[in-house]
Amino acid sequence: EGQKEVSTEKSGYLVIFSQCNNAEPYRAAQNDSFKALWSQYDDVVFEIQDAQQDNSRQISQIETAIVKNPDLLIVAPNERGPLSAVMGKAKKAGIPVICLERDIVDAENYTTWIMSDNYSIGKLAGEYMVEMLKVKNGAPEGKIVDLRGLLGVEGEQKRFNGAWDVMNTYSGITQEAEAVCNWLQSDARVRMTEILRAHPDIDIVYGHNDPMAVGGYLAARDLGREKDILFVGVDGLQGEAGGIKKVVDGVLAATFTYPLCTDKAVEIGNKIMRDPDFTPEKVYEVQSEMITPSNAVEKFNG
């Protein structure tokens, strides 16, 4: 079990990546990174499949992948519950399965899990915000606004809980308001406007992703209050539209990278395919990086 028959006629490897949703900047970056990395291997055919943010679509996509019989299946599961069975099915069919980033129910259902933990990112952000409040208000106290992604999404919950598990230990730090902005810059801009009207004192806006933090910034700038508030984001993508650039531009005070995990996946995946003796660990965690004005320019350029 778990080992694939090695057919002698076969030349080259087929790697299928089941992406939960291509059409999102973070995912697009992940795809690009994968493509670049795999293209360094001439004998690898790399295919990306997009589940368009739909569990059942991803399930059937993996079912299709099983029929295609690849040498490596990488799955970025849309949600933990629904994808478990089908990933287990792939593994049982003899296909090595890398579970990327979100975990799934029951570790038996994947070969290895390469992840970065949203909860620890939330904690990093929380610790950073506490520090900033100390600087700003002289004590760990202040008012926070959460701009939240689509409720009910696991990563969203963890980014929230991570941060607040840290901040809740300080009685002076309170949540002033929150708004659900569905990960969108435009929603965040509109909703933040009302929050600014209703709440005169806000110290930090914690956007659960960078675009929402930027949306909050736009609203504040419109009201001339962007100087009084710190904007913190998560994701820290590269490129003009990414969060790192926003730190460079002085829009965000900080962002916390949500690692693409692609380097690690390619490294481990290659070992699994090429080295029959290699047994991967069950979990690899890739650490988040804090991007602040002190390191932003450097990160942006390299």
């Binding site: 299709t64 029929v67 295609k68």
Partner: protein, 342 residues
């Protein structure tokens, strides 16, 4: 003297053959899609068979379209009354979460079979009830279905999230009651059979019962229906309740298949369902349409998606190509205008 000899002079044979032609016509879109699917399909890794035509893939498609198919069947009835139901996505999420909640978070001492029965039955009751409520509000308050079901779409999504406190409810893989439930409901044959049975029954109800005739007559001429003394309120109530019930069934299947009740699921399902109905030839203005048409619409969409997926086409290209193919398929299977004046 015969009043209209002119009409009678058309030979019966010819009339028959145009009938067959028309019937065939409504399948041409599907045939085109099948044709495309076979052409575009990659070969199976190893065996070299046409991947699309493998029994596994065909049954996969069948299962994949089941949820949308079941919802679209209910939607067909509603659209035939010239109504619309925007809330099916939220209703599905509500049914799925309630089902998962009953399975995992309640512990009545009524024995496993009864517990599972409740986990299926109560969500169905709830969705049927909301459907009936829509029907009542639409006919009693005389508000357009779009608004009532839009309110349902928003409100019930909120309600589903409220019920689960924004979290997903996992059904899990142990060997507890949830697992029994999932193993009972989620296998391919169960899902496909449910879909097929519902399709057959509903097709009979629409085509062969008084209720079906009334549904069509309301959409065809609502004032005329009142003049003829058709119980409009009752019929609308039943129609929306039926759609609610079917959506509930899809929701329970959804929970079992996904091992989860997620309050965020089902977003934009209303669009998929309506699209299938309309592609299947049912007029948005009501009165005219069939379950067979809807099933064709469901498969046109399902096969199209499957084909692109097998081929591994970039989603953006896929979407652009889909747009064109949908239009061509619908255009092909549209009955050629009998009357040029229409």
């Amino acid at each position: 003297m015969r009043l209209n000899e002119g009409v009678q002079s058309i030979p019966a044979v010819f009339k028959k053959s145009t009938g067959t032609l028309k019937k065939f016509q409504s399948f041409t879109g599907l045939v085109l899609i099948l044709f495309l699917a076979v052409i575009l399909s990659p070969r199976q890794h190893g065996t070299g068979r046409i991947l699309f035509l493998t029994p596994e893939n065909l049954s996969d498609i069948f299962r994949q379209v089941s949820e949308n198919g079941i919802i679209a069947i209910g939607m067909t009835f509603i659209i035939l009354t010239s109504g619309i139901d925007l809330s099916v996505g939220s209703l599905l999420a509500l049914a799925a979460t309630l089902c998962a909640k009953i399975l995992t978070q309640m512990n009545p001492s009524i024995g496993q079979p009864l517990h599972i029965f409740l986990a299926i039955f109560l969500p169905l009751m709830l969705t049927t009830g909301f459907g009936a409520l829509y029907g009542l509000l639409i006919s009693k308050l005389n508000i357009q279905p779009f608004i009532i079901t839009l309110a349902g779409m928003i409100g019930l999504r909120g309600f589903a999230r409220f019920l689960t406190n924004n979290a997903n409810i996992d059904i899990g893989f142990g060997d507890d009651i949830s697992a029994v439930f999932a193993n009972l409901i989620s296998p391919k044959p169960v899902v496909i059979t449910t879909f097929v049975v519902i399709a057959v029954i509903m097709s009979i109800i629409l085509g062969r019962t008084v209720f079906g005739l009334r549904v069509k007559s309301i959409g065809d001429n609502s004032i005329g229906s009142r003049y003829a003394g058709i119980p409009v309120t009752k019929t609308l109530l039943f129609t929306y309740a039926l759609s609610g019930l079917l959506t509930g069934v899809a929701g329970v299947l959804h929970a079992a298949q996904n091992h989860q009740g997620s309050p965020n699921d089902g977003v934009s399902y209303e669009l998929d369902a309506i699209a299938a109905v309309v592609i299947g030839g049912t007029k948005m203005t009501g009165g005219k349409g069939s379950i067979v048409g809807t099933i064709i619409g469901v498969f046109i969409m399902g096969i199209l998606t499957n084909t692109f997926r097998l081929k591994g086409v970039d989603i953006n290209i896929e979407m652009m190509a889909k747009a064109v193919i949908i239009i061509v398929a619908v255009w092909l299977q549209q009955p050629r205008k009998a009357r040029s004046k229409g």
